[in-house]
Each structure stands twice: as structure tokens, then as C-alpha cells.
Amino acid sequence: MAEKEMEYRVELFNKMTQTCFNKCVDNKYKESELNMGENSCIDRCVSKYWHVTSLIGQLLGSGRPPM
């Protein structure tokens, strides 16, 4: 069970990383550093992703499919 929990966390982290990179970082790669805009975007993205995760957890946990 704890193993499942940890696998879930790893998966969550990976998906979060992939998703936020796609949304926040331009794929022209003009430079190798993250600029200020990208940094704030990443922070906000992670925060929102986390909220979505817990929201969905609540919806699923209430025991019935959301209509």
C-alpha cells in the first residue's frame, strides 16, 4: 500500500513536471536559463496542479461519479 502510494507520488511528480514544462517553457530554447516569467509560471502551475489533484481526489472520494 505504501508502495502504491509512493509510485503514485512519483507518477504525480513526473506528470506535473511534463505538463508544466509544456505549458510554461517556450520550445525555442533561446537560452539555457529559466527567465523570471517562466519561474513564476512554474510556481503557479505547480500550485494549481496540486489544487486540481486534491479537488479531484475529493470528488472521487465522495463515493459517487460527479454528474
Binding site: 512519483v10 511528480f13 512554474i42
Partner: protein
């Protein structure tokens, strides 16, 4: 803090630097990509032989992100620790593959030449560095949120 050191990206850099020699013409893009993977696999082998020296910096998957180990009894701590090491090995390799795929897709578009062009090389380098920095930052925020959630409960 389970600090991870880089060896894969260093290998990529060394490999890309090597390519200026006379043999450069014979190498081609697929070969280049395979060698990138190959260097990663050999680094991985070194890693699996000596897990104290792990694979990729910036995957920032330190153990506190996954579980609060200090609150466990000793035997459980060992077991959890071993489990986390396993997960990290698997995850490092997966991350390596996805990074190669991503940078290849974003940076390599034309196949007029067999070898990687200068700007493609630069692009791949930047892509990898950027993604690693991004991954570190996400890891930081993720750990913060984890801590926050833990205290909230």
C-alpha cells in the same frame, strides 16, 4: 537530503564536444542519438553498481518528497529506503529517455545531413539544461506543498 549528481548530461556534453574530429562526418543523427542513449546506459550501469552515486541531478526526488522516513521504526525505514531507491532508479531512466525524446522532437527538424548541426547541438544542450532546472524547481515546490499538506492534516 538525497543529492543526486549528474553524469548523464556530462556524458552528453563530452560526446557532443568529441564530434568535431575527422570522424565527425561518418557519424549520423541516429547514431548520435543512440550514442547519447548509450552513454546514458553506461552511466546507468555505473549507477546501479554504486547506488551511492546516483544518476541525474535535478530530478530532485529526494526521499522527503516521497515519505516521512524519520517517524518510522528502523526495520520499516530500511525497507522504505530500499523501495525509494528502486523507484528512483526506474524514474531516472525514464526521465532520461523522455528528455532525449523531447529535445530531439523540439530541436531536430531537418535531415539534410547525417551529423547534428551546430545550432541543433546548441539547442539540445539548452533544452536539457532548461528541463533539468525546471525539474529542480518543480521538485522544490512539490516538496513544499507536500510539507504543507502534511502539517495541514
Amino acid at each position: 537530503m538525497y543529492q543526486l549528481e549528474i553524469s548523464t548530461i556530462k556524458d552528453v556534453r563530452l560526446f557532443l564536444k568529441d564530434r568535431k574530429g575527422p570522424k565527425a562526418k561518418r557519424k549520423h543523427s541516429t547514431g548520435a542519438m543512440m550514442r547519447l542513449v548509450g552513454s546514458g546506459v553506461s552511466s546507468f550501469r555505473t549507477f546501479s553498481e554504486n547506488p551511492r552515486r546516483p544518476l541525474i541531478r535535478g530530478s530532485s526526488m529526494d526521499k522527503s518528497m516521497l515519505a516521512d522516513l524519520d517517524s518510522l521504526p528502523e526495520a520499516d525505514k530500511q525497507r522504505m529506503s530500499a523501495m525509494i531507491d528502486q523507484l528512483q532508479i526506474r524514474d531516472s531512466l525514464r526521465m532520461y529517455n523522455s528528455l532525449v525524446e523531447r529535445c530531439f522532437n523540439d530541436c531536430v527538424d531537418t535531415f539534410k545531413h547525417k551529423s547534428l548541426q551546430k545550432q541543433e547541438e546548441t539547442c539540445v544542450r539548452r533544452c536539457a539544461e532548461k528541463f533539468l532546472k525546471h525539474s529542480m524547481r518543480v521538485g522544490m515546490r512539490f516538496a513544499e506543498l507536500n510539507q504543507g499538506a502534511a502539517t495541514q492534516d
